[in-house]
Symmetry: C3
Subunit: 260 residues, 3 copies
């Protein structure tokens, strides 16, 4: 199985062309779109989407990620084998969370000269390099047949929250399509804080108190917080956009404290 | 075959994750996106999309619908067997048109405790309950193995038009991507009106006369009406948005009368 | 394999319904979305998407294209066999580039009376005619069993650039999702110009000099031009929208000259 994550949107035929290339080489491949709505050139957002998603796919799945402003430059095209999966894309930090969360990972630099489709230009390695490489992995070729061992992968900073007494200080890392603001505070952080706090936990975001509840419909008036199904603390407003109403975006500061 | 209908948009990896869960359990499942562009939390719009679409899929198809603001609350997760198909989703009215249009339907309340994937939170039953349940139906498990008989499904009002002499009074129920305004007046209503009217039928929408024609290119200047391929009366403007020009939205009043 | 290209967007269930129809007839068909984000009624944009994409799919692939404002009128529904592929859609110019680029092509007018699904209206031939026809081609039926030989296909003008001495005069034919402005100047035109010019080539677009480079990251400050992976000259601004900054849209004039 092959998944695709890009910033190509849905208005261009780019993703369809990648699928055509894959299916020309591996006609029985099952291809799943993870998302093509990553903001243009936002490598960190793609890293987060892949880092929270690969675990829902079968072992051995091949995850192709193409947010690639450096296409054609000296940045390496790579294969990463980690957490029982393969990841194929540019070495620009897009696989940072795999490096962090998987106990071991081995990378290869793709031998582009042998792998690439013929092309008059150098603007679309998703179609000319990553798609054929994913198809060959799908056919059972080993990464070592497609590239050479590669060290020193680029990583992006994904800082966790800081704890000070009964308070966690974190930040928004993503605003989702519903306007929910997902933070870098994890369920384990929340549990640790709960262990040392008296009373209920309350988040503060955009200057507003956001009491911690269990599910969306438990907080129908005013902003609230919950631990979402990915295990991240999330600020929400029932059936509205918390991000719009509280002025939150990636980087906005969040606090979570024991109620005083 | 499994179809998916959600309000998740295409910018998040949510739909891709659901597919990963389904294919991890039922690797050969054929999955079709019905639409993920339902307006956030608009249960009635999802009900309409599913109610007009299921008939185009093979018998036995499994239709998963996730527009679910009540996720995590006491609202029931259900399977509905109706019209030769299965429908899987929250009991919030999203399957109203199946209850109305299928002569018989049987529902089960999903046994979430046994069916749900492990999750630290309660924000995404599409991934943690509905996807695995759909996959098990696809593998041939019976609904009665996945839940208990369930009565009293929630339904939403979908009122039909009112007829008074030679006039039908209805309303817009959906504006499509082209700006066509689809109404709750059905082809059978139109035929009944034609039977009692003299002369051509004319719709009135947004204060404008909209003569009834047979296809779009037959009404190239000014607003017109036609019966569309789903059997609904539709107000259109050739290669333009009738909704924008006539100020129409869901709920706007429409009349259809015999020309005087 | 069947691909789909439409202007239906992703908010409606139209594409999903077409897939349901196809899979009801040809259950094992592999269906790929080429794009559904063609601007409403923009036949030329669909022609370009198909004309640059079909070559990435296996021989024998069936490409369905539905940008069809004339649906229901006398415009012919056709099958075109060209370049080792099948193309199915309305005869409105949407297959112009295949006629131009493939040395031979044979067309059939689809026998709609036999092929169409029952329908109360005439607004959606994608679902009622083109989908079932594509499914039957996928099952191995020959075009001559589905229609009659057809001559005189509609074509749209896709003018190439004009060369005058050391200068090419062309225009923008498409602005992509990143804001790159793709022109009608091809790699062969560029090579021919290079053969008669001294010094580096420079494009002029929106009143700005755009030096020709090899890949995006080679032109990180100010607007530049390159030959993209489809072999078209493209005006870009690194990680920004050249179209927005230089005021470019389809039809904007572009010059490419030998540096003086």
């Amino acid at each position: 199985m092959i998944t695709l994550t890009t910033d190509f949107g849905f208005a261009e035929p780019f993703v369809g062309q990648m699928k055509g290339v894959i299916l020309s080489i591996a006609p029985k491949a099952s291809i799943v779109d993870l998302t093509h709505g990553i903001r243009a050139h936002d490598i960190a957002a793609a890293a987060l989407a892949i880092g929270t998603s690969y675990r829902y796919f079968p072992e051995g799945a091949i995850h192709v990620a193409v947010v690639d402003p450096g296409v054609g430059s000296s940045r390496a095209p790579i294969i990463l084998e980690a957490c029982g999966s393969y990841f194929v894309g540019p070495d620009n930090g897009i696989f940072t969370l795999l490096k962090r969360d998987c106990s071991e990972g081995i990378a290869w630099r793709i031998n582009s000269r042998d792998m690439a489709l013929d092309s008059p230009g150098n603007t679309f390695h998703g179609r000319h390099i990553f798609a054929p490489v994913a198809a060959r992995l799908e056919l059972g070729q080993s990464p070592s047949a497609l590239g050479k061992p590669f060290d020193g992968m680029v990583t992006l900073p994904f800082p966790g929250p800081a704890r000070e007494g009964c308070e966690l200080r974190g930040e928004v890392i993503h605003v989702d399509v519903f306007g929910n603001a997902i933070t870098n505070i994890r369920v384990t952080d929340v549990e640790a804080l709960r262990g040392v706090s008296r009373g209920a936990l309350v988040a503060e975001a955009g200057g507003e108190r956001c009491p911690l509840v269990g599910y969306y419909a438990e907080g129908v008036s005013g902003p609230h917080a919950l631990v979402n199904s990915d295990g991240y603390l999330e600020i929400f407003l029932f059936e509205e956009s918390a991000a719009l109403r509280l002025g939150l975006d990636a980087g906005s500061k969040i606090r979570l404290t024991g109620d005083s």
